[in-house]
């Protein structure tokens, strides 16, 4: 019968065997938690400096530009008769949701200083305008007016140009 002090006794061996298992379990839990956080649609970290805030504003502007351009291409494609209603409508809604989430996420980040306030105001205005214009295209699509989507999407050209200009301005 193993004694409590024997190296191969249940007590000591038990503890030694458990350590790597606990470490493995902890590592697995960490990966799962990272995945759960990463796979959620909206995850925002804080911005402690202006540089951080600027980086986040750049990412938000890039996502918005992608959504705006996707909607422009969708509108063009539908007007040319190259896509049906369900595809167009679902795709537009996805882009609208993406932009709304980006706008919400960016608005929720605390600007660290006064310089960041200006950046915040400029970008939120651009995102707001783009959201309104994408919503207008989506409304037209849901009404079945696929042939006139390109007209509804005209204001998005200016949104796209403004977002690109914003990106260039923060590159400098």
């Amino acid at each position: 019968m193993p004694s409590a002090t024997h190296p191969r006794s249940r007590g000591i061996g038990h503890v030694e065997r458990r350590r790597p298992r606990r470490a493995a379990a902890l590592a697995t839990l960490t990966i799962v938690a990272m995945l759960a956080a990463g796979c959620s649609e909206h995850s925002v970290g804080p911005a402690r400096t202006y540089d951080d805030y600027e980086r986040k504003s750049r990412t938000s502007a890039e996502v918005a530009l992608s959504a705006v351009e996707t909607v422009r291409l969708l509108a063009e494609t539908s007007t040319d008769g190259n896509a049906w209603g369900a595809y167009t409508s679902v795709s537009l809604s996805e882009q609208e949701d993406t932009l709304a989430a980006t706008e919400g996420d960016f608005a929720s980040i605390q600007p660290p200083d006064h310089r960041s306030d200006d950046l915040r105001a400029t970008l939120l205005e651009l995102l707001g305008a783009a959201s309104d214009h994408i919503a207008a295209v989506r409304i037209e699509a849901r009404r079945g007016n696929l042939g006139s989507l390109a007209d509804a999407a005209v204001p998005l050209a200016a949104d796209s140009a403004a977002l690109q200009q914003f990106l260039v301005s923060i590159e400098r």
């Binding site: 649609e41 351009e69 291409l73 494609t77 795709s91």
Partner: protein
């Protein structure tokens, strides 16, 4: 003649079945973001999967036992368990992504939110796994997957400067707007998508389900050597289509619907219909493969009767694992996780676990007790496979740090 037709059908199935949700997302995303600068990774990945899938098919045909069945026996229960846990976890992520992919493709023709479609898709996947014969299942979805050839038609219709396109692919560099880390991260994602572990589990288990014997070794080689590279050509066509049409407009691919957008724009409604059928078939076929793979790995590790060739009464535990895996994946999908993100993580984590899957295949394919002395790997094959094993280890080491540094590639 019948034999030739059978081989041709096998090759076509291999081409159509090569692309899954991971390939669709990874190739479309990298094409839009990195142009053709990561095309070389698809080629490196397909050579790797050709080398190792051929080995696993050969082992299955010669022993009548799939790779996972032999891992525990040859490398011991601990290694087998580590392999099982990693493979099963990644397989579940992949299954979630595939089920969500099917639901998303259906939502594009029905306007119904994909979350409402997930339970229906999960039931359909289970029903097909339960009722349809293995050969029928493989053929139908593999052949329908050939609809993805429409991506090649799209590239042709866009009419690119072919010299420029090939030159871009042949002279890769890190784009100015990206860092070395994001470049490496997306390279790993593409590599993981090409060498997903479930592909070899399914391939070798499928060989046993199909009753492959020594006589089928030639067919195994043809399927792998012709089918997989042509399947990879489809992946490159997806990458080229988003590079040509979405990248110049600063569009990044965050949704499955965007993958189909170049096709709609360049080919029209018919093209859109064909590509959605192709996406449906590719994701549905992969959902079947991953569902069955979940049952295969668990049942083979624990020594339970397994397979669709066994009556459900005799392989009841295998069928329960398949069913429970489908339910768990559907429930995970219903939590509202972003399907594209799940796909990205599944392929990147696949890359992290690749050595666990491929190392045992190399060991067993060199063991004359399993494949016979005349069918062990030759020197050249071993050299190539060993180089790949080194690449797989390096990729596995780099994956998690790159995931953290790039914040998941953002």
């Amino acid at each position: 003649m019948k034999k030739v037709l059978g081989v041709a059908l096998g090759v076509l199935t291999a081409i159509g079945g090569f692309v899954d949700m991971g390939d669709l997302v990874a190739n479309a995303e990298t094409g839009a973001r990195f142009d053709m600068n990561l095309a070389w990774v698809v080629i490196v990945g397909v050579i790797g999967i050709v080398v190792y899938a051929e080995m696993s098919g050969r082992v299955a045909a010669l022993c009548g036992r799939p790779v996972f069945d032999l891992v525990r026996e040859r490398l011991g229960p601990r290694f087998g368990m580590a392999n099982l846990l990693a493979s099963f976890f990644i397989n579940m992520l992949t299954l979630t992504a595939e089920i969500a992919g099917v639901a998303l493709s259906l939502s594009l023709v029905s306007s119904v939110n994909y979350l409402f479609l997930i339970p229906f898709v999960a039931f359909l996947v289970w029903l097909v796994c339960w009722r349809m014969s293995f050969v029928m299942m493989e053929r139908i979805f593999g052949l329908l997957g050939l609809c993805l050839v429409v991506f090649a038609v799209t590239v042709w219709k866009i009419g690119p400067d072919w010299n420029q396109l090939f030159s871009d692919a042949a002279h890769p560099h890190v784009p100015h707007s990206e860092t070395v880390f994001t470049y490496a991260y997306f390279g790993i994602a593409l590599f993981g998508a090409a060498m997903t572990p479930y592909e070899v589990f399914f391939f070798s288990s499928g060989a046993v389900e199909d009753g492959w014997t020594r006589k089928d070794l030639g067919e195994n080689k043809i399927n792998v050597l012709i089918g997989f590279p042509l399947g990879a050509a489809l992946s490159l066509a997806i990458m080229a289509s988003t590079h040509l049409l979405l990248a110049p407009r600063h569009i990044s691919v965050d949704q499955l619907s965007q993958v189909a957008l170049p096709v709609a724009s360049a080919v029209g409604r018919l093209g859109l219909a064909v590509v959605i059928i192709g996406i449906f078939a590719a994701t549905f076929g992969a959902a079947l493969e991953t569902s069955l793979s979940a049952g295969y790995v668990v049942a083979q590790y624990l020594g339970w009767p397994w397979g669709k060739h066994s009556a459900p009464r005799t392989a009841s535990r295998f069928h329960v694992v398949v069913m429970m895996s489908i339910i768990a994946a559907a429930l995970f999908g219903l939590t509202g996780v972003d399907p594209v993100k799940v796909t990205e993580y599944s392929i990147v984590l696949s890359a992290a676990a690749l050595p666990l899957t491929y190392f045992p295949i190399l060991v067993i394919a060199n063991d004359p007790r399993y494949v016979g002395p005349e069918h062990t790997n030759g020197r050249f094959l071993n050299a190539v496979a060993s180089v790949y094993l080194v690449i797989l280890v390096l990729v596995a080491i780099a994956t998690i740090p790159l995931m953290i540094i790039t914040k998941g590639g953002s």
